[in-house]
Amino acid sequence: MDNQIRLLQVFADVLEMDIAKLDEQSSPDTIQNWDSLAVVSLVCELEQTFDVSFDILDIADFRNVGIVKSILVEKGVVFEK
C-alpha cells in the first residue's frame, strides 16, 4: 500500500473517521477526536505501521498530518511523488 494512504489510514483508524475526510492540513483544530489521548494512540500506531521510533520532542510537534508526515520523512519513510 502507498505510504500516503497508510499514513491517512492510521489517522482514520485512531480518530475513528472516514479516510476521505482527512488530508495533510487535518489538525486538532479541525478534528474533534484529536485530543491528547489520541496522540498516544497515534504514536503507538504510527510507530508500528512505519517501524520507526519517534523522538520525544517530535511528539510535541504533532500539530497536523503534514507535520507528522515530514517527521516520518526525516525518519527515512519514503512517500511517492
Binding site: 483508524d13 475513528e16 489521548l37 500506531e45 508500528q48 520525544i56
Partner: protein
C-alpha cells in the same frame, strides 16, 4: 508475545470467522483490527457473549490506549465487559468512597494498577536525598496506606479487589551502588510487593495481578520512557497487548471453571521414544539430555497433581509393557498408581476419554488433552470438541512450554478438597479389544485427507526398510529381523516384491511407515508373504489396507495364482493375530494361536480404504 494457547482460549462456539478476526486482532494489537473484532463479537447472540462483567480500574498511570485491547481480551473469557477507569491519583476516592462513580456502578471486580513512581515519587527519584530513617518510614507509610485501603474497601464493596504488584523495572536503577544500599528503590519495591502478597494470603476478597511478574518476564523493553514522560503511559506500544492478555489471564478464573483432568499420552510426552519399538532400554527419561526434558514434563505434571489435578493416561501400547516400564524405572517422578484413570490399549483416544469422563462423572470440558501426535489431537478435536487440547508437539520442549503456559488449571486458591481430590478416585485399568471402525471414525479419516504413496524398496530406502524390520514389534505379522544383506538378496530376485508405504495427511508427512515383502516362486506360481508390518504411529488409519491392496494388485499382475501368508505369534504382536482374516484370506490350520497359516486365490479384488488417496509410484 501472545500466549501459544491463544486460539484455544477463544470460545469454540464462536463462528470460525469471528475467532479468526479476534486472534488476528490480539496478535497484531492494531487498533483497526481490534475494533473490527470487537464489532464482530458484539454482533454475536448474547448467550455466546457470556455474562456482563463490569470492571472498575483505579490506576496511577495512563492506560486509556489499551482499553479496547483489554475489552477484546476479556470478551474471549467469554463475557460482556464494560470497563470504567477512575481518575489518576485518586485511588482512595474511587475505592473507599461509596459515592464514587465506579462503586456506584456496582462493579463485578476492581483492579488497582499502580507503581512506586506515583505512590511515593521521592522513594524512586530522590531516595539518595533521604536519610535511612526517612526511607524506612516512607516504605512503612506506603504499606500501611495499602493495608488500610483494603480494610476500608471491604466495608464498602463486596466485589473482588485485584491489587497489582509493583514492577521494579522502572524503579530499579542499574547502578552497582544500588545493590549495596539497604534502601535502594528495588528493595523498597520488594518489601511492598511482599506486603501485597501477604494481604492476598490473609483476605479472601483480595487478589493479585502480578504486574511485577509480567514486567520481569518482559524486561525493560516492555516500558517506554518517552511515552511515560509525554503522557504517563509507561507501557511500550508493542507490549500493550501482552499486558492486556496477562490481565485477561488474571480474571479468567472468575469465569471459567478450571479444568480438572490432565489426560496424557505416554510415548513422546512423558518419555522420549516409542516403548513398543525402542523397548524399556531405549526410552529416554532421566537427568541426562534429552531424557531431562521429559523428566521436567513429568515434574510439572506431578506439581499439577499435587495441586489437585487428576491424571489420566491415554496410551496406545500394550498394558503389560507399560506396567513393566514403570516398574523398571522407579526413579521417574510419575508412578502408574498416580493416574486416576488408565487406558492403555489400541482404541481411539476420544472413545477412551469419553469413558473416563463418565467414570469420573466429569464433563468433557474438564479435560485437557496432551499428545505429541497431531493425528491424535485432531481426532480428539473432531470427536470431542469440548475437550481442551494443549499445543503439544513432537518437540518435547514445545510440550513442556505449553504445559507451563497452560492456564486451564488456574484457580485463585487451592482448597483442602482440591488437594484431597486425587486420592478419592480409584484407578481403573480395564483393557479393551480393538473394535470395528465407526461411521464417525470414517468421517474423521476423510477429513484428514490421507495420502499413501507406494514405492518399491530401493538403495535409498533400504536402511529405513532394515530399521523397520528390526524395530517394529506390534504391527508385525512375522517379526522376521532381516538384515541389510538379506534385503539386498531379496531385491536382486525379480520374482519378489518389496513395497513401502509413506503416509501423509493435511498436518504433515509421516514418511515411510509400512513395509510388505512377498517372495515368489514362478515355477509353482505361488507367492508368500514374508513380512508385513507398520509403525505403531501409523496404525488406525487404514493405511495397512492400502498397502495390502497394492501388494495384491502387483502380485496378480506378476502372474501368481495363489498367495500364502502366516502369522507368527510373539509377546507383542497379538493385535495382528487376525489381520489376514480381516484382509479376506482363508485360515488353513486350526487350533494353535501361536501360528496361523492363510491362503488366498488370485486374482482377488481387495477392498480399498475410500478415505485414502493411493498413489502407486512403483
Amino acid at each position: 508475545m501472545i500466549s501459544e494457547n491463544l486460539l484455544m482460549e477463544i470460545p469454540k462456539e464462536w463462528p470460525q470467522s469471528v475467532r479468526r478476526l479476534v486472534s488476528t486482532a490480539l496478535e497484531s494489537g492494531r487498533i483497526a483490527a481490534i475494533r473490527d473484532a470487537l464489532r464482530a463479537v458484539r454482533a454475536l447472540p448474547q448467550e455466546q457473549q457470556g455474562r456482563p462483567f463490569r470492571l472498575g480500574i483505579c490506576r496511577t498511570f495512563t492506560i486509556e490506549a489499551q482499553i479496547e485491547a483489554l475489552t477484546l481480551g476479556l470478551a474471549t473469557l467469554p463475557c460482556r465487559p464494560a470497563i470504567m477507569v477512575g481518575d489518576m491519583e485518586n485511588i482512595e476516592q474511587v475505592l473507599i468512597n461509596p459515592q464514587s462513580q465506579i462503586l456506584q456502578a456496582a462493579p463485578d471486580a476492581l483492579l488497582v494498577l499502580w507503581r512506586l513512581e506515583e505512590l511515593h515519587p521521592r522513594l524512586v527519584f530522590e531516595h539518595d536525598g533521604m536519610s535511612a530513617e526517612e526511607r524506612e518510614q516512607a516504605a512503612t507509610d506506603v504499606v500501611s496506606r495499602i493495608e488500610s485501603l483494603c480494610s476500608v474497601y471491604k466495608t464498602v464493596s463486596a466485589a473482588p479487589l485485584f491489587l497489582s504488584t509493583l514492577p521494579e523495572q522502572m524503579a530499579g536503577g542499574t547502578a552497582v551502588t544500588d545493590l549495596y544500599s539497604a534502601h535502594a528503590p528495588r528493595r523498597t519495591v520488594s518489601r511492598i510487593n511482599q506486603a501485597l502478597l501477604d494481604l492476598a494470603v490473609h483476605h479472601s476478597h483480595i487478589h493479585i495481578f502480578d504486574f511485577s511478574g509480567w514486567a520481569s518476564r518482559m524486561g525493560r523493553m516492555a516500558f517506554d520512557l518517552k511515552m511515560d514522560l509525554y503522557a504517563r503511559q509507561p507501557i511500550a506500544s508493542h507490549s500493550l497487548m501482552s499486558f492486556a492478555m496477562v490481565l485477561v489471564d488474571t480474571f479468567r478464573p472468575l469465569f471459567l471453571p478450571p479444568a480438572k483432568v490432565l489426560a496424557l499420552d505416554l510415548d513422546g510426552v512423558l518419555w522420549g521414544g516409542v516403548l513398543g519399538e525402542d523397548g524399556i532400554d531405549g526410552i529416554k527419561i532421566g537427568h541426562a539430555f534429552p531424557g531431562n526434558i521429559y523428566r521436567r514434563i513429568q515434574l510439572h505434571v506431578l506439581a499439577l497433581k499435587r495441586r489437585g489435578v487428576l491424571l489420566a493416561l491415554l496410551s496406545k501400547n500394550d498394558y503389560a509393557d507399560v506396567e513393566r516400564a514403570f516398574s523398571a524405572m522407579p526413579s521417574m517422578p510419575l508412578k502408574l498408581e498416580m493416574f486416576s484413570a488408565l487406558r492403555v490399549d489400541w482404541l481411539e483416544k476420544s472413545e477412551n476419554l469419553k469413558e473416563i469422563a463418565e467414570e469420573l462423572n466429569l464433563g468433557l470440558d474438564s479435560f485437557v488433552f496432551v499428545d505429541d501426535q497431531a493425528f491424535e489431537r485432531e481426532q480428539m478435536r473432531f470427536n470431542l470438541p469440548q475437550v481442551r487440547i494443549l499445543q503439544a508437539s513432537e518437540d518435547p520442549l514445545q510440550t513442556l512450554s505449553a504445559l507451563m503456559c497452560c492456564r486451564a488449571f488456574d484457580v485463585y486458591r487451592v482448597s483442602k478438597e482440591d488437594l484431597r481430590r486425587t486420592d478419592d478416585y480409584v484407578a481403573q485399568t480395564q483393557r479393551r479389544k480393538l473394535e470395528t471402525t465407526s461411521c464417525d471414525q470414517q468421517n474423521f479419516l476423510r477429513a484428514l485427507q490421507l495420502r499413501a504413496i507406494i514405492t518399491r524398496v530401493t538403495e535409498d530406502t533400504i536402511s529405513r526398510t532394515v530399521q523397520m524390520l528390526g524395530k517394529t514389534n506390534q504391527f508385525n505379522v512375522t517379526t522376521r529381523r532381516h538384515l541389510e544383506a538379506d534385503v539386498k538378496k531379496m531385491l536382486a530376485d525379480p520374482n519378489n516384491l518389496l513395497l513401502l508405504l509413506s503416509l501423509s495427511d493435511r498436518f504433515g508427512d509421516q514418511g515411510i511407515v509400512g513395509l510388505g515383502i512377498v517372495l515368489g516362486d514362478p515355477a509353482s506360481k505361488l507367492a508368500k508373504v514374508d513380512s508385513f508390518l507398520f509403525s505403531c504411529r501409523a496404525i488406525g488409519r487404514g493405511a495397512e489396507q492400502a498397502l495390502w491392496a497394492s501388494l495384491l494388485i502387483h502380485i496378480s499382475s506378476m502372474g501368481y495364482v495363489s498367495l500364502h501368508a502366516e502369522y507368527l505369534r510373539t509377546e507383542r504382536n497379538h493385535q495382528v493375530s487376525n489381520l489376514f482374516e480381516r484382509f479376506g484370506m482363508t485360515k488353513q490350520n486350526d487350533g494353535t494361536e501361536a501360528y496361523s497359516k492363510y491362503v488366498l486365490n488370485l486374482p482377488f479384488q481387495p477392498s480399498l480404504p475410500a478415505w485414502i488417496t493411493i498413489e502407486d509410484k512403483t
